[in-house]
């Protein structure tokens, strides 16, 4: 019975122990080494987890049973390396869940996340561990002290892990297996943080079971072979990376972790893919685009042939011309448009491109994966404005009416998702969880839980689902999901500007910030944001106004600002 994702790792380590499972720029790990590393990480952190849990509960450390310390967050300071992945699996073996944290996050955002999360401890998996971006009050353990890192078993072994004997390892593995059997598949496996409209990021909590669901669905629809080599582009703090890590575990393939800087250097990137024999890519749209935008496939001659079998993408709308370009060079590859937010475990719909599209067409998001139900909820104006429970005002005048049939083309509705893929909710945030993870309308008895994406979609004449737009202030910029509200919260915390608001210029791919201040503060604002927002969230254009236009409700007139911008009246 598959109760936890590590069962797949154990199976592969038995079937082909010496097959390479993971590789980064500097080193690689076989399945046996991967499993051993995970088991040793679990072993190394268990006493610390118990000590921390005891401290919080106010009991003596020896009074805590390791088995009872479960379903707690454990952070990982990630890098583009195999050490990060081994840390994830090690944490999972303890029955707790991992939370990948980008050490490059601005200090304020990192503090906010750590405060929200309150992890029992952090594992440092960075290539060069150094000072942390913010002070933390929990133990930070260097992953290199936990297991012998491949290729780094050096003479001067100070502080490094020692090699255990074969008997010891067998015993440790046995112990880990026992702990793994205590997990049920609805336990959380990981949490990843995503932008929150109020300025506080939300941690989406995903269970083991949702990952099994993902890998089963991908296997059934796309069929990955044992010789699949996934070229991992998605950072580990994005759930897109789960598709590489867990599909590889499921099919017994290999993950090549591609250094981030290569996505700025398409010629270097293509050479790396070729040399590392990558044959499958599941990338953000922006990464697929850079290769096409520089026409890199014409100009670059790789030293060995690049053979791509599957090209899959998600994150934002893919321009048709980009895929038409790729198809000239890899006509036999499978091209798939994937859709879905983190809250439904990566993707809930797929569209396999089987014909040539014209540049003015757009790719549908297609149909639901097996064991997933995706439907459109019609929204209708309602005059029934009642207050929610506890005096919380009702969200808006919109009210759910019913499900739009796929035989009815061009009617817009909110994309909703039902099934095992639906996440457990937002960590430590019952209000937002209740808002977005709701009972299925009309389901009076079974109370099936659904996730409401906030994305608007419609069916085309073929009954295929298409993405239309967002109904709120969430945008996709460089394939990152961003709440404009979070940028505005950071801007409005800066004392030398009166007020600011943001919108997105979809044609020029720019986040535009309009601010009110007595003088030009562009550079100071940009500098102030460095500590508060990740670089992909920082505005690309700043416009100063003496006085912001206000609407009848005495709020900033966003619609007017936008119109002025589009008409070129804002400079």
């Amino acid at each position: 019975m598959k109760n936890a994702v590590m069962a797949m790792l154990e199976e592969n380590a038995q079937r082909f122990p010496d097959k390479i499972a993971l590789a980064d720029e500097f080193r690689q790990m076989s399945y046996r080494e991967y499993l051993t590393a995970a088991v040793l990480v679990a072993r190394a952190i268990t006493p610390q987890l118990c000590a921390q849990a005891a401290l919080r509960a106010g009991v003596p450390a020896d009074g805590v049973d390791p088995q009872a310390v479960r379903c707690n967050p454990v952070g990982v300071l990630i890098d583009r390396n195999v050490l990060s992945v081994a840390s994830f699996m090690g944490i999972a073996y303890t029955g707790n869940f991992y939370v990948p944290l980008d050490p490059e996050l601005p200090a304020v955002r990192m503090s906010t996340i750590l405060q929200e999360l309150s992890p029992l401890l952090l594992i440092d998996a960075r290539e060069t561990p150094g000072p942390l971006p913010v002070p933390v009050d929990v133990p930070v353990l260097d992953v290199r002290t936990m297991f012998p890192v491949p290729g780094e078993i050096s003479e001067e072994n100070s502080g490094k892990a020692e090699e255990s004997s074969a008997e010891d390892l067998e015993a440790f593995l046995q112990e880990a297996r026992e702990r793994r059997r205590m997990i049920v598949d609805t336990d959380p496996l990981y949490a990843v943080f995503t932008s929150g409209s109020t300025g506080v990021p939300k941690g989406v909590l995903v269970s083991h079971r949702s990952l099994f669901d993902l890998t089963d669905a991908f296997e059934e629809v796309f069929g990955f072979e044992e010789d699949t080599v996934f070229g991992n582009q998605a950072p580990f703090d994005y759930d897109g990376s789960s598709k590489d890590l867990y599909n590889a575990l499921h099919c017994g393939g290999r993950v090549e972790i591609i250094p981030h800087r290569m996505f700025m250097l398409p010629a270097v990137l293509l050479e790396y893919l070729a040399v590392r024999s990558v044959n499958t890519i599941i990338w953000a749209v922006s990464a697929v685009r850079i290769v096409a935008d520089f026409r890199a496939l014409d100009a670059v001659k790789t030293s060995v042939p690049l053979c791509l079998r599957k090209v899959m993408f998600s994150g934002e709308v893919m321009p048709v011309k980009t895929i038409n370009y790729w198809m000239q060079f890899f006509p036999d590859a499978l091209y798939v448009n994937l859709y879905g937010p983190t809250e439904i475990t990566c993707n809930c719909t797929y569209y396999t491109i089987t014909r040539r599209f014209e540049p003015d067409e757009k790719f549908p998001i297609g149909r639901a994966f097996p064991n997933t139900r995706v439907f459109l909820l019609e929204k209708k104006e309602s005059d029934n404005e009642e207050a929610g429970a506890g005096g919380v005002p009702a969200q808006s005048g919109n009210r759910v009416c019913g499900i739009i049939p796929d035989s009815l083309p061009d009617v817009r509705g909110e994309i909703c998702v039902e099934g095992t893929c639906v996440a457990l909710g937002y960590w430590n945030n019952p209000d937002r969880t209740a808002e977005n993870f709701t009972a299925k309308p009309g389901a009076s008895v079974t109370l099936n839980r659904i996730y409401r994406t906030g994305d608007l979609g419609y069916y085309n004449k073929e009954g295929e689902l298409c993405f239309a737009s967002r109904e709120d202030n969430q945008i996709k910029h460089m394939s990152h999901r961003i709440e404009l509200g979070e940028i505005e919260a950071a801007l409005n915390a800066i004392d030398f500007i009166d007020v600011a608001c943001c919108f997105y210029d979809h044609d020029r791919h720019k986040i535009v910030c309009v601010y009110q201040a007595g003088e030009d503060r562009r550079r100071q604002i940009a500098t102030a944001l460095v500590d508060r927002l990740p670089k992909y969230m920082r505005p690309n254009k700043y416009i100063r106004m003496e006085q912001m236009p206000l609407n009848a409700h005495v709020k900033i007139d966003r619609r007017l600002l936008r119109t002025m911008y589009e008409e070129g009246k804002l400079k």
Partner: protein
């Protein structure tokens, strides 16, 4: 050359106002720019200087600093 520098600085600062381009010498190595910054910077440089930066010119050593980018522009203008 001084004119080129001024024009380049305008392009860079417009794209990424949060980076101190004058003093930075590891724009690519420290991953300060993203792929989309590169796309928009290159297309604007191509237009402004009437050159054509090829994908094979997209190497860290050509984009790590303002001086390196200026040298690349000068080289391509000569060709």
């Amino acid at each position: 050359m001084e004119e080129n520098r001024q024009e380049l600085m305008e392009i860079l600062e417009e794209t990424r106002p949060d980076i101190d381009f004058e003093n930075e010498t590891a724009l690519i190595d420290k991953e300060m720019l993203d792929s989309f910054d590169i796309i928009s910077i290159v297309s604007e440089i191509n237009e402004a200087f009437d050159i054509s930066i090829n994908v094979n010119d997209l190497l860290p050593e050509n984009f790590n600093s303002v001086d390196a980018i200026l040298a690349l522009i000068a080289k391509l203008q000569e060709e």
